[in-house]
Symmetry: C2
């Protein structure tokens, strides 16, 4: 018998999730790794659990449709994670292997066969930290790669603006864009984060809490805007585009925690006819629909060699959801991950 802590989804939040209430730590003191039923799946001991903004979207009333399923109540949150296989009833997977895929936010998790099938075992030849396998070399890194190349189609000499630029995705976008010869502008929410943006090569970096995004962008003409935040920032970007600009719609974190009726909306999108008059393309994508072979082949080495620098926000062990809320509200600095020793 071991104790097994999980982060449980207790009820849909109205605005922001409330640690200890809508999400909370629950410990099973009678978890038996030797005998727990696997039903054709595998048992993993978690090494790292990813915390990502999109997860807020699954904390919803099941009646609201979306691209993903709502989280079931009173179960652990499900997330992208890496762990070491303890037992397996799944063909081709053996104890000791590293499994990367979706599983419960728990110290020990039973991964049902259909989720095992969607994940994979990895070798981690570059010996990157567990957290990095979920960050720069995981879903956020792949999002940056596929979004920039497949949707943004960057050309040397163009200008890109990235919001939430020090975040898990933004920090990779800026560095990839720089490698392609773009002029890069990034915004973030603290002076520390701005210093980091300069360190990783952003040409212009500013703290949107102390500097007006509108005033900074007025001095530039954008070809690409990587939109992580939506709302007023997107509106400001829309006013400063060159013709044939592209907006990569990656997220709208400024509005995730805002109930529908109170949302600000986008006012410059059609109102000022900017999308029409500048022939803009505003396009969303889901990274899992994109081919990630090139990313998987190149990114680990770029990180290992230091050509792409990364910043991670690592929490040790499962808490009551405070670190998840920090991530949603921007108090993390870099990719937010829970790790276990």
């Amino acid at each position: 018998m071991v104790s097994n802590a999980s982060l449980i989804y207790a009820k849909p939040p109205h605005g922001a999730p409330v640690p200890g209430e809508t999400i909370k730590r629950v410990v099973d003191d009678n978890f038996d790794p030797e005998t727990v039923a696997l039903n054709g799946g595998i048992l993993v001991q978690a090494k790292a659990l990813s915390m990502d903004p999109y997860m807020r979207g699954r904390m919803r009333d099941p009646k609201v449709k979306s691209y993903n399923q709502p989280f079931p109540l009173d179960k652990p949150l499900l997330t992208l994670a890496v762990g070491v296989v303890v037992r397996s009833e799944y063909d081709g997977i053996k104890p000791g292997q590293i499994f990367k895929g979706m599983f419960d936010m728990s110290e020990y998790a039973v991964v049902p066969a259909q989720l095992v099938k969607m994940g994979r075992t990895i070798e981690n030849k570059e010996e990157l930290p567990w957290s990095t396998l979920l960050g720069a070399c995981g879903m956020p890194g792949a999002t940056a790669w596929c979004g920039l190349y497949d949707i943004g189609k960057p050309k040397k000499g163009e200008t890109i603006f990235v919001s939430a630029a020090s975040g898990a995705v933004g920090q990779i976008v800026g560095q990839l864009a720089k490698r392609e010869g773009l002029f890069t502008i990034g915004s973030a929410g603290s002076d520390d984060k701005v210093a980091f943006l300069k360190e990783i090569g952003y040409d212009v970096a500013f703290n949107y809490k102390t500097t007006s995004t509108e005033e900074v962008l007025e001095q530039h003409q954008l070809d690409i805007y990587w939109d992580n935040v939506g709302g007023a920032t997107l509106d400001a970007a829309l006013k400063n585009f060159r013709h044939h600009g592209r907006i990569i719609a990656c997220g709208a974190i400024s509005e995730y925690n805002v109930p529908e009726a109170e949302r600000r909306g986008i006012k410059n999108c059609k109102s000022d006819m900017n999308v029409v008059t500048h022939s803009l393309r505003y396009q969303g994508f889901i990274v899992s629909n994109h081919n990630q072979d090139q990313f998987n082949a190149e990114m680990p080495q770029l990180v290992k060699s230091g050509e792409v620098k990364i910043k991670e926000h690592v929490t040790k062990g499962i808490d009551n959801g405070e670190s998840f809320l920090d991530m949603l509200e921007g108090r993390n600095f870099g990719k937010a991950v829970i790790v276990f020793e």
Copy 2:
């Protein structure tokens, strides 16, 4: 000497243009077609003058940037038009030819050389009415053609929704889409217009003033939305898309007359993450940047043969701007044109 009536741009409107005040009819009683200076341009006698929603955008404070120039004050509105050449100082253009291009909203207009260069003489082999040369076979028709094929990329079996579907552009979009094997849904603002939509082959047609757009669209899954109106209609469409849907951003007539601070904005675009979660592409275009050769080659015959049906809203002669305001506020029924006997 003849009298020469013009529609003059007198001052920028705050909301809607005011006939007789911000735009008004002015008559020059001493216009001499024989002696008026051409300075290398041509003199035309107008046969038809186009009235289009985008012209509202040129009635603005010159300090506000856009893709086109603001109209100069105290001059006639400039528009796409056809006329017969009376005199010419421009190489290759002779009296009696039909000229199609931008010129003043006047009975007689001097077209300066740089505008002559951007226009062209036409033969009108199909002997279409003057008005049609500005409608289905003019800019609105080309907008429908290039927007649908180049931006919408329609595939047989898909579903398209067109707002302002009985308008100059919408009526062509629906018929072209139907020819490509799409299921077509159109909205318009009166029962007469809805009857016309059914007559020209729309599979579903409804009056958005008496039927809820949201309720109609909930019964369908869209692949393409041709957006002529923006605002709440765009929001309703955004909730009912299949994955990889396309929104052709053609206009936002619901917000042209609304001052910036009072605009509604788009709330479902990023807020509900629809653009992201459904991998939507929302794209604007300017028809003059698109190749129109195929349109020019095929459209006149489609109209002549009746394969594409058209509806025009014809006003005889220049008024005080009432017909222009009618067009902006949807009281026209089909392409709005001023014609002269």
